[in-house]
Amino acid sequence: MSAPKDPLTHFGYQSVPVGDKAHKVAEVFHSVAARYDLMNDLMSFGVHRLWKRFAIELSAARRGQQVLDIAGGTGDLARAFSRIVGSTGRVVLADINSSMLSVGRDKLTDQGLVDNLEYVQANAECLPFANNSFDLVTIAFGLRNVTDKDAALRSMFRVLKPGGRLLVLEFSKPVLEPLSKLYDLYSFSLLPAMGQLVVGDADSYRYLAESIRMHPDQATLQGMMETAGFERCDYHNMTGGVVALHRGFKF
């Protein structure tokens, strides 16, 4: 008698068993970790720094706060939050991928940011923190890689303090048709070629482009956040909707 078929999920445009997705995503990020920042700059012409700047501003992070940065990888946001929350605050940089976490920890330590930073290897779907621990939870360009996004959103809700907020910064659906076509051309032709030349890995960047297309659009993600319990949810489109910043509060 054959075993029951595993439920399938998407890995970019491929269909893979649910249990395999996390492993395949891990392979992608082990492969790209060392050149991650360089590729971000090349792919977005440096604009990703502005998107993150916007996210930091809308986070309303303040001195003394407890911040959790999920899928924080190479530490762009954690660095900013570390400076904002100061010595009376705390920033936890969580990432499921050990290579990304190592790169992030080395980077931040080399910049002398040590006091208020902690590094945790964790899965967003089941965060290893107590209820009501954080004033702010952020996840930048990480949610699209999570297998069970609803579980992750519920987990984030749980660890937030009442009054706390969630920020999701992620690629989304461009709002204009001509932009959309240009974006497709860019993602599916140029990106993998760049990936091959710069990091010797076209497949990972093809996965990147595909995973963006499989990610829920602006309104759908907002709905998912509301289902997870978040209130006063909204989103801001940036760069014509190529990237969106979603916010939600726990009351």
Binding site: E57, L58, L176, L179, T239, G240
Partner: protein, 208 residues
């Protein structure tokens, strides 16, 4: 609703103000007496509002957090500039102040004494935000964002480097340049290989 161009414009202005303050200990001391105070500023043209928050330095936020100590409403940025640099700006008239009017007058006096060209500084808010509203959607998305980014980085490169560390440090830049050199070498090799293949193809075709 806060937008990316607005936030960048506010951060650029914030950077200019704080950089000037760095070399003015006296003004910093006066400001420290106002530590924790918040003023909400609302402009009609361009439609822009922001929060001035005084803490370890001056912060300009796109959104309010809690109730401000005072609110300033002005029809245009020009009027705001006049309010900031005018000797005795009248409360009422084109500038409306609500709440702690003493705080606003103190801030105005401090701003006046700062060695800063306010017309120049406030133009950060004017040009960028106005251009965003006037431009087409796509322009407002890609090319504008990039132009703004360039201006932002040019104006606040130092601020970014020292305050936010968004700009890469020396070794990162060097490594980036090495990577670019490798990329260039790779593409040169690719070019050469394509040329060689092309010649071989021509040779093959000529024998057919």
């Amino acid at each position: 609703m806060a937008t990316l161009p607005q936030v960048l414009a506010l951060k650029a202005l914030e950077g200019i103000i704080n950089r000037t303050l760095r070399y003015d200990a006296g003004t910093r001391t006066r400001l420290s007496a106002l530590h924790g105070r918040r003023v909400w500023v609302q402009l009609e043209r361009p439609a822009l509002s922001f929060l001035i928050r005084l803490d370890d330095r001056v912060y300009l936020h796109a959104e309010a957090d809690g109730r401000p100590d005072a609110t300033v409403e002005a029809a245009t940025v020009e009027l705001l500039r006049q309010a900031v640099t005018g000797v005795d700006f009248a409360i009422g008239g084109p500038i409306q102040v609500r709440g702690d009017t003493g705080l606003v007058q103190q801030l105005s006096a401090i701003a006046r004494d700062l060695d800063l060209d306010w017309e120049e500084a406030l133009s950060q808010l004017m040009g960028d935000v106005a251009a965003h509203r006037l431009g087409s959607q796509v322009r407002g998305a890609l090319s504008f964002g990039r132009r703004l980014a360039r201006t932002f980085f040019q104006n606040s490169g130092e601020f970014l480097r020292e305050e936010m560390e968004v700009v890469p440090v020396r070794w990162e830049v060097d490594e980036f340049h090495h990577d670019i050199d490798d990329l260039r070498a790779d593409t040169d090799r690719l070019d050469a290989r394509l040329a060689r293949l092309g010649k071989r193809l021509d040779a093959l075709e000529s024998t057919v």
